[in-house]
């Protein structure tokens, strides 16, 4: 099978061939690896690669894979050709709409760092949320102009709801 993996924002070409019950041949960007792989329990994979042993825990949800190897985490999206095409279409659409700032968990708005009309740079702090007794600054991914602020300081918010919407900068070219 051929897959495209998206890891740390980069696309990597993979191919995997099953040799027998436990042995696989894996090509990463054309480079071949012989692997003995076993599921030791529901979310643990033990790999022997050139006699080196790697014990990896994982969570696989459809196309998204979270790996933990010696406490280094990898978020990998792994797609076959059809899914890759669908994803490209989706992300092209997403880039044309506003960026929506959310928090993944319920919390309290400590401070808004922007107001509508402000221009923000990539990675600029937008809002400070307190959750689990910790204050966290949420930053934007893309440069833009603040379109709407849905919340105010002191307000308690649910996880996942839009807090701030940011319009992309008008394209210059």
């Amino acid at each position: 099978m051929k897959y495209t993996a998206i890891i740390a924002g980069k696309e990597r070409e993979l191919e995997v061939v099953r040799r027998d019950e436990h042995r696989f041949q894996v090509f990463i960007e054309g480079e071949s690896h012989e692997v003995d792989a076993r599921n030791c329990s529901a979310d643990w994979l033990s790999i022997l690669l050139d006699h080196c042993s790697y014990d990896i825990s994982y969570t696989l949800d459809k196309d998204t894979l979270e790996l933990n190897f010696r406490n280094q985490y990898f978020d990998i999206e792994i797609l076959d050709e059809r899914k890759l095409r669908m994803r490209r279409v989706r992300s092209a659409l997403a880039h044309s709409g506003p960026e929506i700032i959310k928090t993944s968990m319920p919390g309290k708005v400590v401070k808004l760092l922007v107001e509508p009309g402000d221009q923000v740079a990539e990675g600029e702090g937008i809002i400070i949320i307190e959750a689990m007794k910790m204050e966290n600054e949420i930053q934007c991914r893309n440069p833009g102009i603040i379109k709407t602020v849905h919340v105010e300081a002191g307000q308690t918010v649910e996880g996942g709801i839009p807090l701030v919407e940011i319009d992309p900068l008008p394209s210059t070219g």
């Binding site: 099978m1 897959y3 993996a5 890891i7 740390a8 990597r12 993979l14 191919e15 995997v16 099953r18 696989f24 894996v26 990463i28 690896h33 692997v35 792989a37 076993r38 599921n39 030791c40 329990s41 529901a42 979310d43 643990w44 994979l45 790999i47 690669l49 790697y54 014990d55 990896i56 825990s57 994982y58 969570t59 696989l60 894979l65 979270e66 790996l67 933990n68 190897f69 010696r70 406490n71 280094q72 985490y73 990898f74 990998i76 792994i78 076959d80 993944s104 968990m105 319920p106 959750a131 689990m132 007794k133 910790m134 966290n136 600054e137 949420i138 930053q139």
Partner: protein, 503 residues
């Protein structure tokens, strides 16, 4: 001692790892312990581990772990004659200590008067100065910004303006030059008023690159005070300690002796009884200054236990029931280090990462202790502090302890949530940390190094990803026939159980 009293049952109005930590000693002393739990905590480890557990309805601290009335009611109902508060929550609340007394309950901690004396910063400074304990050069509460400017000129910039009633970095400002004094003074008063209901501020000399070194003390009801050496706590992120070690790399024998003596004097001066901690700042000339006293068991107490062999919770219980301290001078041996494990994601601005722990492998082996409040399958609630455990390593010397800690962190596997484990590994393998020559600015000065994302192991991750995806799409549940091997009962277990039953 004849005036000792028995403690028959201990209520622990706390949660998480510290509640479990206290329960363990209770079990060793054969004293039943009683847990309490809020709505989100029914599944918590401290409830499962407890001998008895009572529900505190609600999820807000005020309704639950801070609800004094309810806690006293439960103590009466279950027949608890003593309370161990742990750290946080009610542990430094003088009113609560008085309430215990009124209800005929032994508070396992200091008297209310000592908590009150150490609670006000300027008050504590006065007591310490009288006792000959060096404090950071500073002023009495300041009335006007003109007075502040005069004092700052005398002291030399930079200076710190601090809330008299303050703590934890709130109501505190560093001032670099005279022009900024007035606005800092006013802002500090406002913050102090809103955070502590007391607008008074005072000024201290700002120490450049200080280290944070604290001494553990024990004091009994008969005037005996001893110290159990220091803990170096300079690795801090946003005023929160995350790695602690003992001995401190900065102290030599002479300085340790001197600071230990001063710590004992400081505890004596405040009329202290039970376990407490004297915090000092040590500057680059190795001059040291009293910072504050923590009138409770500290999060990082286990490293002291490792080098002295003393169970501090046991000592707290013994002192509370009126026993005298049995030691004169406690020898120390080797070195120890603690790393605080948090459910948070360092790669995403340290956002807390609550949720379900899908798989958990605890570290083990030589010289490793894990004081944990979680288990595999446990869902970390989002209502509380995200610290899930404290990993402690100990050994002959600092070098062995660091290698051991790195090894133990590597063994520690949690899936389903994000943790700071890899970040901790980066801290303790950083050259500045390894050299022992670091101060409280270590984290901010090295934040770039600590956040560096390496691409090591990426090809291993990709190999695993390809295989997992293939297995998944083949829809073969390999783990069913492979996984059984791990679930099969070990013959040794069967053998052990038979023996346990007396054959």
């Amino acid at each position: 001692m004849n005036n000792t009293q028995k403690i028959k049952k201990i209520l622990i109005p706390n949660r998480g790892e510290i509640a479990v930590r206290i329960q363990r000693t209770c079990r060793e002393l054969e004293i039943p312990s009683v847990a309490v739990f809020s709505d989100p905590d029914r599944y918590a480890l401290h409830v499962r581990y407890a001998d008895e557990a009572y529900h505190l309805p609600g999820s807000l601290p005020g309704e639950t772990y801070l609800n004094q009335e309810k806690i006293f009611e439960i103590a009466k109902k279950c027949g608890a004659d003593a309370i161990h508060p742990g750290y946080g929550f009610l542990s430094e609340n003088a009113e609560f200590v008085k309430g215990c007394q009124k209800n005929g309950i032994v508070f396992i901690g200091p008297p209310a008067s000592a908590i009150e004396a150490m609670g006000l910063k300027t008050g504590a400074r006065t007591i310490m100065t009288k006792a000959g304990v060096p404090v950071v050069p500073g002023t009495e509460p300041l009335k006007t910004h003109e007075e502040a400017a005069q004092e700052a000129d005398k002291m030399g910039y930079p200076v710190l303006i601090k809330a008299s009633a303050g703590g934890g970095g709130k109501g505190m400002r560093k001032v670099e030059k005279r022009e900024d004094i007035e606005s800092a003074f006013q802002a500090c008063r406002r913050e102090a008023q809103s955070a502590f209901g007391d607008p008074r501020v005072y000024m201290e000399k700002y120490l450049e690159n200080p280290r944070h070194v604290e001494f553990q003390v024990l004091a009994d009801s008969y005037g005996k005070v001893i110290h159990l050496y220091e803990r170096e706590c300079s690795v801090q992120r946003r005023h929160q300690k995350i790695v602690e070690e003992t001995p401190s790399p900065v102290l030599d024998e002479a300085l340790r002796e001197k600071m230990g003596q001063v710590a004992v004097e400081a505890a004596r001066a405040s009329g202290y009884i039970n376990a407490g901690t004297i915090e000092f700042l040590v500057d680059k000339n190795r001059d040291f200054y009293f910072l504050e006293m923590n009138t409770r068991l500290q999060v990082e107490h286990p490293i002291t236990e490792m080098i002295t062999g003393i169970d501090l919770v046991e000592q707290q219980i013994r002192i509370a029931r009126g026993e005298a301290i049995q030691y004169e001078r406690v020898p120390s041996r080797g070195a120890a280090m603690e790393c605080r494990i948090y459910a948070e994601d360092p790669t995403n601005q340290f956002m807390p990462s609550p949720g379900s722990i899908k798989a958990l492998t605890n570290p083990g082996g030589p010289g490793v202790r894990n004081d944990s409040g979680v288990y595999g399958g446990y869902s970390i609630p989002m209502e509380y502090d995200p610290m899930i455990s404290k990993l402690i390593a100990y050994g002959e010397n600092r070098e062995q302890v660091i290698n051991r800690m790195l090894r133990a962190l590597e063994e520690y596997y949690l899936s389903g949530i994000r943790t700071n484990i890899r970040y901790l590994r980066k801290i303790i393998s950083h050259p500045a940390f390894l050299s022992g020559n670091y101060d409280t600015h270590f984290i901010e000065q090295n934040s770039r190094d600590l956040m560096e994302i390496s691409e090591d192991n990426e090809s291993i991750a990709l190999v695993a990803a390809a295989i997992l995806k293939l297995m998944h799409s083949e829809n073969r549940s390999n783990h069913q026939d492979e996984g059984q091997g791990t679930q099969k009962e070990s013959p040794w277990k069967v053998f052990g159980r038979k023996r346990g039953m007396g054959q």
